[in-house]
Protein backbone atom coordinates (compact mmCIF):
# COMPACT_ATOMS: atom_id res chain seq x y z
CA UNK A 1 0.00 0.00 0.00
CA UNK A 2 1.25 3.46 -0.87
CA UNK A 3 1.62 5.45 2.36
CA UNK A 4 0.72 9.13 2.10
CA UNK A 5 -0.30 11.70 4.74
CA UNK A 6 -3.87 11.96 3.47
CA UNK A 7 -4.39 8.25 4.23
CA UNK A 8 -3.92 9.07 7.92
CA UNK A 9 -6.93 11.40 7.87
CA UNK A 10 -10.69 10.84 7.67
CA UNK A 11 -13.79 12.94 7.16
CA UNK A 12 -15.70 12.44 10.39
CA UNK A 13 -18.58 14.89 9.95
CA UNK A 14 -20.42 16.88 7.28
CA UNK A 15 -22.82 19.82 7.28
CA UNK A 16 -24.84 21.77 4.73
CA UNK A 17 -26.62 25.04 5.44
CA UNK A 18 -29.88 26.24 3.97
CA UNK A 19 -29.32 27.09 0.31
CA UNK A 20 -31.10 29.39 -2.10
CA UNK A 21 -30.93 32.36 -4.41
CA UNK A 22 -30.56 35.77 -2.74
CA UNK A 23 -31.51 34.34 0.65
CA UNK A 24 -30.58 37.49 2.55
CA UNK A 25 -28.94 35.28 5.16
CA UNK A 26 -25.49 36.50 6.21
CA UNK A 27 -22.49 34.43 5.24
CA UNK A 28 -21.56 34.05 8.92
CA UNK A 29 -25.00 32.67 9.77
CA UNK A 30 -24.80 30.19 6.86
CA UNK A 31 -21.31 29.19 7.98
CA UNK A 32 -22.39 28.62 11.58
CA UNK A 33 -25.28 26.50 10.34
CA UNK A 34 -23.08 24.15 8.30
CA UNK A 35 -20.28 24.15 10.87
CA UNK A 36 -22.44 23.30 13.88
CA UNK A 37 -24.03 20.50 11.85
CA UNK A 38 -20.66 19.08 10.81
CA UNK A 39 -19.24 19.22 14.35
CA UNK A 40 -22.30 17.50 15.84
CA UNK A 41 -22.35 14.97 12.99
CA UNK A 42 -18.77 14.05 13.90
CA UNK A 43 -19.88 13.44 17.49
CA UNK A 44 -17.91 16.44 18.70
CA UNK A 45 -18.44 19.81 20.33
CA UNK A 46 -16.74 23.07 19.32
CA UNK A 47 -14.31 22.57 22.22
CA UNK A 48 -12.92 19.51 20.42
CA UNK A 49 -12.04 21.48 17.27
CA UNK A 50 -8.33 22.34 17.24
CA UNK A 51 -7.93 23.37 13.62
CA UNK A 52 -9.84 25.43 11.05
CA UNK A 53 -9.49 26.15 7.34
CA UNK A 54 -11.46 27.84 4.57
CA UNK A 55 -11.28 29.74 1.31
CA UNK A 56 -13.27 32.82 0.48
CA UNK A 57 -14.82 35.82 2.14
CA UNK A 58 -16.08 34.53 5.49
CA UNK A 59 -13.07 35.18 7.75
CA UNK A 60 -11.72 32.50 10.05
CA UNK A 61 -11.67 34.83 13.04
CA UNK A 62 -15.41 35.52 12.79
CA UNK A 63 -16.18 31.80 12.92
CA UNK A 64 -13.58 31.19 15.62
CA UNK A 65 -15.17 33.91 17.76
CA UNK A 66 -18.76 32.80 17.16
CA UNK A 67 -18.05 29.15 17.95
CA UNK A 68 -15.52 30.00 20.70
CA UNK A 69 -12.88 27.82 19.07
CA UNK A 70 -9.23 27.66 20.08
CA UNK A 71 -7.61 26.32 16.92
CA UNK A 72 -3.87 25.68 16.93
CA UNK A 73 -3.97 25.04 13.19
CA UNK A 74 -5.28 27.68 10.79
CA UNK A 75 -5.11 26.86 7.10
CA UNK A 76 -6.73 27.42 3.80
CA UNK A 77 -6.47 29.73 0.87
CA UNK A 78 -5.73 28.86 -2.69
CA UNK A 79 -3.06 26.30 -3.47
CA UNK A 80 -2.30 23.45 -5.86
CA UNK A 81 -5.50 21.71 -4.78
CA UNK A 82 -7.52 24.47 -6.43
CA UNK A 83 -10.95 25.01 -4.88
CA UNK A 84 -10.43 21.98 -2.63
CA UNK A 85 -7.10 23.29 -1.27
CA UNK A 86 -8.42 23.93 2.27
CA UNK A 87 -9.73 20.36 2.52
CA UNK A 88 -6.55 18.84 1.11
CA UNK A 89 -4.35 20.93 3.40
CA UNK A 90 -6.52 19.76 6.32
CA UNK A 91 -5.95 16.12 5.26
CA UNK A 92 -2.22 16.80 5.33
CA UNK A 93 -2.33 18.62 8.66
CA UNK A 94 -4.41 15.92 10.37
CA UNK A 95 -2.32 13.21 8.72
CA UNK A 96 0.83 14.83 10.11
CA UNK A 97 -0.71 15.13 13.58
CA UNK A 98 -0.77 18.95 13.54
CA UNK A 99 -4.39 18.86 14.66
CA UNK A 100 -6.91 16.23 15.67
CA UNK A 101 -10.20 17.69 14.41
CA UNK A 102 -10.14 20.39 11.72
CA UNK A 103 -13.26 22.28 10.72
CA UNK A 104 -13.19 23.14 7.01
CA UNK A 105 -15.93 25.34 5.57
CA UNK A 106 -16.70 27.01 2.27
CA UNK A 107 -19.40 29.64 2.17
CA UNK A 108 -20.55 31.28 -1.04
CA UNK A 109 -22.95 34.07 -1.78
CA UNK A 110 -24.32 34.37 -5.24
CA UNK A 111 -22.91 37.78 -5.96
CA UNK A 112 -19.50 36.73 -4.67
CA UNK A 113 -17.35 33.80 -5.55
CA UNK A 114 -13.83 34.96 -4.92
CA UNK A 115 -11.09 32.59 -3.87
CA UNK A 116 -9.25 35.22 -1.88
CA UNK A 117 -7.24 33.82 1.00
CA UNK A 118 -8.86 34.15 4.41
CA UNK A 119 -7.36 36.68 6.72
CA UNK A 120 -5.36 35.01 9.47
CA UNK A 121 -4.43 31.95 7.42
CA UNK A 122 -1.35 30.24 8.78
CA UNK A 123 1.14 30.65 5.96
CA UNK A 124 3.39 27.99 7.46
CA UNK A 125 0.60 25.52 6.78
CA UNK A 126 1.12 25.86 3.06
CA UNK A 127 3.41 22.99 2.16
CA UNK A 128 3.07 23.08 -1.60
CA UNK A 129 5.47 25.08 -3.74
CA UNK A 130 4.31 28.56 -4.73
CA UNK A 131 2.36 28.81 -7.97
CA UNK A 132 4.04 30.36 -10.96
CA UNK A 133 2.72 33.89 -11.33
CA UNK A 134 1.70 33.41 -14.93
CA UNK A 135 -0.07 30.09 -14.41
CA UNK A 136 -3.54 31.55 -14.11
CA UNK A 137 -3.02 35.19 -14.90
CA UNK A 138 -2.68 34.65 -18.64
CA UNK A 139 -6.37 35.51 -18.66
CA UNK A 140 -5.10 39.08 -18.75
CA UNK A 141 -4.31 38.49 -22.42
CA UNK A 142 -7.91 37.50 -23.13
CA UNK A 143 -9.37 40.65 -21.57
CA UNK A 144 -8.21 43.07 -24.34
CA UNK A 145 -10.16 40.84 -26.73
CA UNK A 146 -13.38 41.14 -24.72
CA UNK A 147 -12.86 37.63 -23.38
CA UNK A 148 -14.07 38.76 -19.98
CA UNK A 149 -15.46 35.63 -18.43
CA UNK A 150 -15.06 31.91 -17.90
CA UNK A 151 -17.73 30.91 -20.49
CA UNK A 152 -15.52 32.57 -23.13
CA UNK A 153 -12.30 30.93 -21.96
CA UNK A 154 -13.79 27.46 -21.48
CA UNK A 155 -16.13 27.66 -24.46
CA UNK A 156 -12.98 27.66 -26.58
CA UNK A 157 -11.77 24.44 -24.91
CA UNK A 158 -15.14 22.86 -25.58
CA UNK A 159 -15.24 23.97 -29.21
CA UNK A 160 -11.78 22.47 -29.79
CA UNK A 161 -12.88 19.22 -28.12
CA UNK A 162 -15.90 19.10 -30.45
CA UNK A 163 -13.60 19.62 -33.43
CA UNK A 164 -11.10 16.92 -32.38
CA UNK A 165 -13.50 14.24 -31.15
CA UNK A 166 -16.90 14.98 -32.63
CA UNK A 167 -18.42 15.85 -29.25
CA UNK A 168 -21.99 17.13 -29.71
CA UNK A 169 -23.87 19.88 -27.95
CA UNK A 170 -26.67 17.36 -27.35
CA UNK A 171 -24.21 15.28 -25.32
CA UNK A 172 -23.46 18.26 -23.10
CA UNK A 173 -27.22 18.57 -22.80
CA UNK A 174 -27.67 15.03 -21.50
CA UNK A 175 -25.44 15.87 -18.57
CA UNK A 176 -27.61 18.87 -17.75
CA UNK A 177 -30.82 16.83 -18.14
CA UNK A 178 -29.44 14.09 -15.86
CA UNK A 179 -28.42 16.59 -13.21
CA UNK A 180 -31.85 18.21 -13.20
CA UNK A 181 -33.45 14.77 -12.85
CA UNK A 182 -31.25 14.11 -9.79
CA UNK A 183 -32.01 17.56 -8.38
CA UNK A 184 -35.69 16.57 -8.36
CA UNK A 185 -34.78 14.09 -5.60
CA UNK A 186 -32.87 16.69 -3.57
CA UNK A 187 -35.04 19.03 -1.46
CA UNK A 188 -32.06 21.39 -1.07
CA UNK A 189 -31.57 21.86 -4.82
CA UNK A 190 -32.47 25.32 -6.08
CA UNK A 191 -33.95 24.14 -9.43
CA UNK A 192 -35.92 20.88 -9.30
CA UNK A 193 -38.39 20.90 -12.21
CA UNK A 194 -37.22 18.54 -14.95
CA UNK A 195 -36.38 19.82 -18.42
CA UNK A 196 -36.01 18.06 -21.77
CA UNK A 197 -33.15 18.01 -24.23
CA UNK A 198 -35.21 20.38 -26.40
CA UNK A 199 -35.48 22.83 -23.52
CA UNK A 200 -31.72 22.61 -23.16
CA UNK A 201 -31.08 23.17 -26.88
CA UNK A 202 -33.43 26.16 -26.93
CA UNK A 203 -31.93 27.95 -23.94
CA UNK A 204 -30.46 31.35 -24.73
CA UNK A 205 -26.86 31.32 -25.90
CA UNK A 206 -24.15 32.67 -23.59
CA UNK A 207 -20.88 31.95 -25.39
CA UNK A 208 -20.81 29.16 -27.97
CA UNK A 209 -21.23 26.30 -27.47
CA UNK A 210 -22.50 27.15 -23.97
CA UNK A 211 -26.10 28.19 -23.46
CA UNK A 212 -27.72 29.17 -20.20
CA UNK A 213 -28.26 25.54 -19.13
CA UNK A 214 -24.55 24.74 -19.56
CA UNK A 215 -23.78 27.22 -16.79
CA UNK A 216 -24.10 26.61 -13.07
CA UNK A 217 -26.55 28.49 -10.85
CA UNK A 218 -25.20 30.99 -8.32
CA UNK A 219 -26.66 30.48 -4.83
CA UNK A 220 -26.02 31.32 -1.21
CA UNK A 221 -24.96 28.46 1.00
CA UNK A 222 -22.27 26.86 3.11
CA UNK A 223 -20.76 23.39 3.36
CA UNK A 224 -18.58 22.29 6.27
CA UNK A 225 -16.71 19.08 6.99
CA UNK A 226 -14.67 17.91 9.94
CA UNK A 227 -11.34 16.34 9.01
CA UNK A 228 -9.95 14.16 11.80
CA UNK A 229 -6.93 11.98 12.38
CA UNK A 230 -7.58 8.41 11.20
CA UNK A 231 -7.43 7.00 14.75
CA UNK A 232 -10.75 8.77 15.42
CA UNK A 233 -12.46 6.34 13.01
CA UNK A 234 -13.23 3.89 15.81
CA UNK A 235 -15.05 6.56 17.87
CA UNK A 236 -16.76 8.25 14.93
CA UNK A 237 -20.56 7.97 15.36
CA UNK A 238 -21.13 7.92 11.59
CA UNK A 239 -19.36 5.75 9.04
CA UNK A 240 -15.92 7.37 8.75
CA UNK A 241 -14.93 8.46 5.25
CA UNK A 242 -11.39 7.35 4.45
CA UNK A 243 -9.17 9.47 2.25
CA UNK A 244 -7.52 7.23 -0.31
CA UNK A 245 -5.60 9.84 -2.30
CA UNK A 246 -5.57 13.43 -3.51
CA UNK A 247 -4.35 15.27 -6.58
CA UNK A 248 -3.70 18.84 -7.65
CA UNK A 249 -1.94 20.95 -10.25
CA UNK A 250 0.27 24.02 -10.28
CA UNK A 251 -1.74 25.31 -13.24
CA UNK A 252 1.09 25.48 -15.77
CA UNK A 253 -0.18 26.36 -19.22
CA UNK A 254 -2.88 28.60 -17.82
CA UNK A 255 -6.06 29.16 -19.78
CA UNK A 256 -4.78 28.69 -23.33
CA UNK A 257 -1.08 27.71 -23.41
CA UNK A 258 -1.06 23.97 -22.63
CA UNK A 259 0.64 21.90 -25.35
CA UNK A 260 -2.12 19.29 -24.90
CA UNK A 261 -5.00 21.81 -25.18
CA UNK A 262 -7.99 21.39 -24.84
CA UNK A 263 -6.87 19.30 -21.87
CA UNK A 264 -6.72 21.21 -18.61
CA UNK A 265 -5.05 21.08 -15.21
CA UNK A 266 -7.50 18.27 -14.41
CA UNK A 267 -5.16 15.84 -16.20
CA UNK A 268 -2.27 16.82 -13.88
CA UNK A 269 -4.48 16.45 -10.81
CA UNK A 270 -5.81 13.07 -11.94
CA UNK A 271 -2.28 11.82 -12.64
CA UNK A 272 -1.22 12.79 -9.12
CA UNK A 273 -4.33 11.15 -7.63
CA UNK A 274 -3.67 7.81 -9.36
CA UNK A 275 0.03 8.01 -8.46
CA UNK A 276 -0.86 7.99 -4.74
CA UNK A 277 -3.08 4.91 -4.64
CA UNK A 278 -3.18 1.28 -5.71
CA UNK A 279 -6.79 1.72 -6.82
CA UNK A 280 -7.61 2.09 -10.52
CA UNK A 281 -10.33 3.97 -12.40
CA UNK A 282 -12.35 0.74 -12.61
CA UNK A 283 -12.64 0.79 -8.80
CA UNK A 284 -14.66 4.04 -8.81
CA UNK A 285 -18.30 3.33 -7.95
CA UNK A 286 -19.65 6.84 -8.53
CA UNK A 287 -18.40 10.33 -9.35
CA UNK A 288 -19.09 13.86 -8.16
CA UNK A 289 -17.44 16.09 -10.74
CA UNK A 290 -17.35 19.86 -10.98
CA UNK A 291 -19.81 21.35 -13.43
CA UNK A 292 -19.37 25.09 -13.34
CA UNK A 293 -19.94 24.45 -17.05
CA UNK A 294 -21.10 21.13 -18.50
CA UNK A 295 -17.87 20.68 -20.40
CA UNK A 296 -15.77 20.73 -17.22
CA UNK A 297 -17.43 17.47 -16.16
CA UNK A 298 -16.54 15.99 -19.55
CA UNK A 299 -12.94 17.06 -19.02
CA UNK A 300 -12.83 15.39 -15.58
CA UNK A 301 -14.42 12.16 -16.88
CA UNK A 302 -11.59 11.86 -19.40
CA UNK A 303 -8.82 13.13 -17.13
CA UNK A 304 -9.69 10.62 -14.41
CA UNK A 305 -9.86 7.72 -16.87
CA UNK A 306 -13.55 7.05 -16.19
CA UNK A 307 -13.81 7.08 -19.98
CA UNK A 308 -11.17 7.28 -22.70
CA UNK A 309 -9.72 10.41 -24.25
CA UNK A 310 -12.33 12.17 -26.36
CA UNK A 311 -15.02 9.71 -25.27
CA UNK A 312 -16.90 11.79 -22.69
CA UNK A 313 -19.59 12.68 -25.23
CA UNK A 314 -20.57 9.09 -26.06
CA UNK A 315 -20.17 8.14 -22.36
CA UNK A 316 -22.71 10.76 -21.22
CA UNK A 317 -25.01 10.39 -24.27
CA UNK A 318 -28.65 9.55 -23.45
CA UNK A 319 -27.79 9.85 -19.71
CA UNK A 320 -27.96 6.10 -19.09
CA UNK A 321 -24.49 5.26 -17.76
CA UNK A 322 -24.47 8.38 -15.61
CA UNK A 323 -28.00 7.99 -14.19
CA UNK A 324 -28.60 7.08 -10.53
CA UNK A 325 -29.24 3.49 -11.61
CA UNK A 326 -26.41 3.49 -14.19
CA UNK A 327 -22.88 2.10 -14.02
CA UNK A 328 -21.36 5.49 -13.07
CA UNK A 329 -23.87 7.64 -11.17
CA UNK A 330 -22.78 11.23 -11.65
CA UNK A 331 -23.55 14.41 -9.69
CA UNK A 332 -26.32 12.62 -7.82
CA UNK A 333 -27.49 15.73 -5.90
CA UNK A 334 -28.14 17.74 -9.06
CA UNK A 335 -24.75 19.33 -9.59
CA UNK A 336 -23.96 23.00 -9.59
CA UNK A 337 -26.04 23.11 -12.77
CA UNK A 338 -29.28 22.48 -10.86
CA UNK A 339 -28.65 22.20 -7.10
CA UNK A 340 -26.47 25.32 -7.10
CA UNK A 341 -22.94 26.60 -7.17
CA UNK A 342 -21.06 25.71 -4.00
CA UNK A 343 -17.66 25.95 -5.70
CA UNK A 344 -16.86 22.26 -5.47
CA UNK A 345 -18.05 21.68 -1.90
CA UNK A 346 -21.51 20.27 -2.41
CA UNK A 347 -19.92 17.47 -4.48
CA UNK A 348 -17.76 16.66 -1.45
CA UNK A 349 -20.77 16.68 0.88
CA UNK A 350 -22.77 14.48 -1.49
CA UNK A 351 -19.92 11.98 -1.92
CA UNK A 352 -19.77 11.51 1.86
CA UNK A 353 -23.56 11.19 2.11
CA UNK A 354 -23.67 8.52 -0.61
CA UNK A 355 -20.71 6.61 0.85
CA UNK A 356 -22.53 6.58 4.21
CA UNK A 357 -25.69 5.41 2.38
CA UNK A 358 -27.62 8.33 3.86
CA UNK A 359 -28.74 9.96 0.59
CA UNK A 360 -32.39 8.98 1.02
CA UNK A 361 -34.47 8.84 -2.17
CA UNK A 362 -31.43 9.53 -4.31
CA UNK A 363 -29.23 6.89 -2.66
CA UNK A 364 -27.27 4.89 -5.24
CA UNK A 365 -28.68 1.35 -5.16
CA UNK A 366 -25.57 -0.54 -6.26
CA UNK A 367 -22.33 -0.68 -4.27
CA UNK A 368 -21.10 2.82 -3.51
CA UNK A 369 -17.85 2.29 -1.63
CA UNK A 370 -15.38 4.35 -3.64
CA UNK A 371 -16.10 7.89 -4.80
CA UNK A 372 -14.13 10.42 -6.76
CA UNK A 373 -14.64 14.12 -6.06
CA UNK A 374 -13.04 16.58 -8.48
CA UNK A 375 -13.31 20.35 -8.73
CA UNK A 376 -12.08 23.05 -11.04
CA UNK A 377 -11.58 24.01 -14.67
CA UNK A 378 -8.88 25.55 -16.83
CA UNK A 379 -5.69 25.90 -14.75
CA UNK A 380 -7.53 25.14 -11.49
CA UNK A 381 -7.85 21.50 -10.42
CA UNK A 382 -8.07 19.43 -7.27
CA UNK A 383 -9.47 15.96 -6.73
CA UNK A 384 -9.75 13.23 -4.13
CA UNK A 385 -10.60 9.57 -3.91
CA UNK A 386 -12.77 8.75 -0.88
CA UNK A 387 -13.99 5.40 0.40
CA UNK A 388 -15.77 3.66 3.25
Amino acid sequence: MIDTPEKRSIISGIGLSRTGRKTGISSLELTLESSRQAIADAGLTPADIDGIATMGETPLQDVIAALELEPGYRGGGFDTGGLLSPVISAFFAAGAGKARHILVYRTVQMMGGSVLPPRNADSSAAEAPPRRDNAMTDMRYLLPYHGYAAPNWLGMHCQRHMHLYGTKKEQLGWLAVNSRRNAGLNPGAVYRDPFTLDDYMNARMISTPFGLLDCDVPIDGSVAVVVSTADYAKDCPRAPIYVESIGGSNGDGGWFRRADYPKMASVDAAAELWGRTDLKPKNIDFAQLYDGFTFLTFAWLEALGICGEGEAGPFVDRATRIALEGEMPLNTYGGQLSAGRMHGYWILHEACLQLRREAGPRQIRKAANVAVVAAGGGPIAGCMLLRV
Binding site: P144, N152, M205
Partner: protein
Amino acid sequence: MAREVTPTAPRVAPAVTPANFHYWTGGASGELRILRNKRTNAWISPFEDDSVEGAEPVTLSGKATVYTFTVNYQKYHPDVQPPYVVALVELVEAPGIRLPTNIVNCATDAIEIGMPVRVVFEPCGEYFLPLFEPDM
Protein backbone atom coordinates in the same frame (compact mmCIF):
# COMPACT_ATOMS: atom_id res chain seq x y z
CA MET B 1 2.05 45.68 -44.54
CA ALA B 2 -1.18 44.78 -42.77
CA ARG B 3 -4.20 47.05 -42.63
CA GLU B 4 -5.27 49.11 -39.66
CA VAL B 5 -8.88 48.93 -38.45
CA THR B 6 -10.82 51.52 -36.49
CA PRO B 7 -11.74 50.68 -32.89
CA THR B 8 -15.47 50.14 -32.39
CA ALA B 9 -15.48 49.59 -28.63
CA PRO B 10 -13.25 50.35 -25.67
CA ARG B 11 -10.70 47.69 -24.79
CA VAL B 12 -8.74 46.69 -21.73
CA ALA B 13 -5.13 47.71 -22.39
CA PRO B 14 -2.78 44.79 -23.01
CA ALA B 15 -0.32 43.71 -20.33
CA VAL B 16 3.14 44.55 -21.66
CA THR B 17 6.16 42.37 -20.83
CA PRO B 18 9.62 41.93 -22.39
CA ALA B 19 8.23 38.89 -24.23
CA ASN B 20 5.45 40.81 -25.94
CA PHE B 21 6.56 44.45 -26.27
CA HIS B 22 7.33 43.94 -29.98
CA TYR B 23 4.08 42.05 -30.43
CA TRP B 24 2.02 45.01 -29.21
CA THR B 25 4.07 47.69 -31.01
CA GLY B 26 4.78 46.13 -34.44
CA GLY B 27 1.36 47.21 -35.65
CA ALA B 28 2.60 50.83 -35.79
CA SER B 29 4.38 49.79 -38.98
CA GLY B 30 1.80 47.16 -39.92
CA GLU B 31 4.04 44.28 -38.91
CA LEU B 32 3.37 41.23 -36.76
CA ARG B 33 6.47 40.53 -34.69
CA ILE B 34 7.32 37.53 -32.53
CA LEU B 35 10.56 36.97 -30.64
CA ARG B 36 12.85 34.15 -31.69
CA ASN B 37 15.86 32.78 -29.85
CA LYS B 38 18.92 33.64 -31.96
CA ARG B 39 20.79 30.49 -30.96
CA THR B 40 18.07 27.84 -31.03
CA ASN B 41 15.67 29.53 -33.50
CA ALA B 42 12.82 28.65 -31.10
CA TRP B 43 9.84 31.02 -31.15
CA ILE B 44 9.01 32.68 -27.83
CA SER B 45 5.34 33.04 -26.98
CA PRO B 46 4.31 36.64 -26.25
CA PHE B 47 2.29 35.25 -23.35
CA GLU B 48 4.91 33.27 -21.44
CA ASP B 49 7.07 34.86 -18.77
CA ASP B 50 10.13 33.09 -20.12
CA SER B 51 13.49 34.80 -20.40
CA VAL B 52 13.96 36.82 -23.57
CA GLU B 53 17.73 36.92 -23.35
CA GLY B 54 19.32 36.19 -26.71
CA ALA B 55 16.05 36.73 -28.54
CA GLU B 56 15.30 39.01 -31.47
CA PRO B 57 11.99 40.17 -32.95
CA VAL B 58 11.14 38.59 -36.30
CA THR B 59 8.48 39.98 -38.65
CA LEU B 60 6.08 37.27 -39.79
CA SER B 61 3.61 37.10 -42.67
CA GLY B 62 0.63 37.66 -40.37
CA LYS B 63 -1.05 34.57 -41.81
CA ALA B 64 -2.62 32.21 -39.31
CA THR B 65 -5.33 29.59 -38.86
CA VAL B 66 -8.20 29.53 -36.39
CA TYR B 67 -7.29 27.06 -33.61
CA THR B 68 -10.52 27.48 -31.65
CA PHE B 69 -13.11 30.19 -30.99
CA THR B 70 -16.28 31.13 -29.18
CA VAL B 71 -19.07 33.46 -30.27
CA ASN B 72 -19.95 35.52 -27.23
CA TYR B 73 -23.60 36.56 -26.87
CA GLN B 74 -23.59 37.73 -23.26
CA LYS B 75 -23.24 41.45 -22.57
CA TYR B 76 -20.38 41.70 -20.11
CA HIS B 77 -19.41 45.34 -20.76
CA PRO B 78 -21.90 48.20 -21.24
CA ASP B 79 -20.04 49.56 -24.29
CA VAL B 80 -19.18 46.27 -26.00
CA GLN B 81 -22.01 44.95 -28.16
CA PRO B 82 -22.36 41.19 -28.65
CA PRO B 83 -22.17 39.02 -30.61
CA TYR B 84 -18.42 38.99 -31.21
CA VAL B 85 -15.84 36.30 -31.71
CA VAL B 86 -13.04 35.52 -29.26
CA ALA B 87 -10.54 33.11 -30.76
CA LEU B 88 -7.15 31.50 -30.48
CA VAL B 89 -5.15 31.45 -33.71
CA GLU B 90 -1.87 29.78 -34.63
CA LEU B 91 0.63 31.53 -36.90
CA VAL B 92 1.61 29.72 -40.07
CA GLU B 93 5.34 30.20 -39.35
CA ALA B 94 5.14 29.47 -35.60
CA PRO B 95 2.60 26.71 -34.99
CA GLY B 96 2.12 25.86 -31.32
CA ILE B 97 2.14 29.48 -30.19
CA ARG B 98 -1.48 30.39 -29.63
CA LEU B 99 -2.60 33.99 -29.86
CA PRO B 100 -5.82 35.20 -28.22
CA THR B 101 -7.61 37.52 -30.62
CA ASN B 102 -10.88 38.56 -32.24
CA ILE B 103 -11.93 37.38 -35.68
CA VAL B 104 -13.32 40.43 -37.48
CA ASN B 105 -14.87 41.18 -40.87
CA CYS B 106 -16.56 37.79 -40.86
CA ALA B 107 -20.10 36.55 -40.16
CA THR B 108 -20.11 34.77 -36.80
CA ASP B 109 -21.65 31.64 -38.33
CA ALA B 110 -19.00 31.46 -41.06
CA ILE B 111 -16.09 30.84 -38.71
CA GLU B 112 -14.57 27.37 -38.55
CA ILE B 113 -11.58 25.83 -36.84
CA GLY B 114 -8.74 25.57 -39.36
CA MET B 115 -9.95 28.57 -41.37
CA PRO B 116 -7.12 30.72 -42.84
CA VAL B 117 -6.96 34.25 -41.43
CA ARG B 118 -4.61 37.23 -41.71
CA VAL B 119 -3.66 39.95 -39.29
CA VAL B 120 -5.07 43.48 -39.11
CA PHE B 121 -4.17 45.95 -36.38
CA GLU B 122 -6.38 47.97 -34.10
CA PRO B 123 -4.81 50.89 -32.25
CA CYS B 124 -5.25 50.73 -28.46
CA GLY B 125 -3.60 53.68 -26.69
CA GLU B 126 0.08 53.55 -27.59
CA TYR B 127 -0.17 49.88 -28.65
CA PHE B 128 -1.66 47.94 -31.55
CA LEU B 129 -3.75 44.82 -31.02
CA PRO B 130 -3.35 42.12 -33.67
CA LEU B 131 -6.83 41.03 -34.83
CA PHE B 132 -7.50 38.57 -37.61
CA GLU B 133 -9.85 38.52 -40.61
CA PRO B 134 -10.63 35.80 -43.16
CA ASP B 135 -7.80 35.34 -45.67
CA MET B 136 -9.69 34.47 -48.83
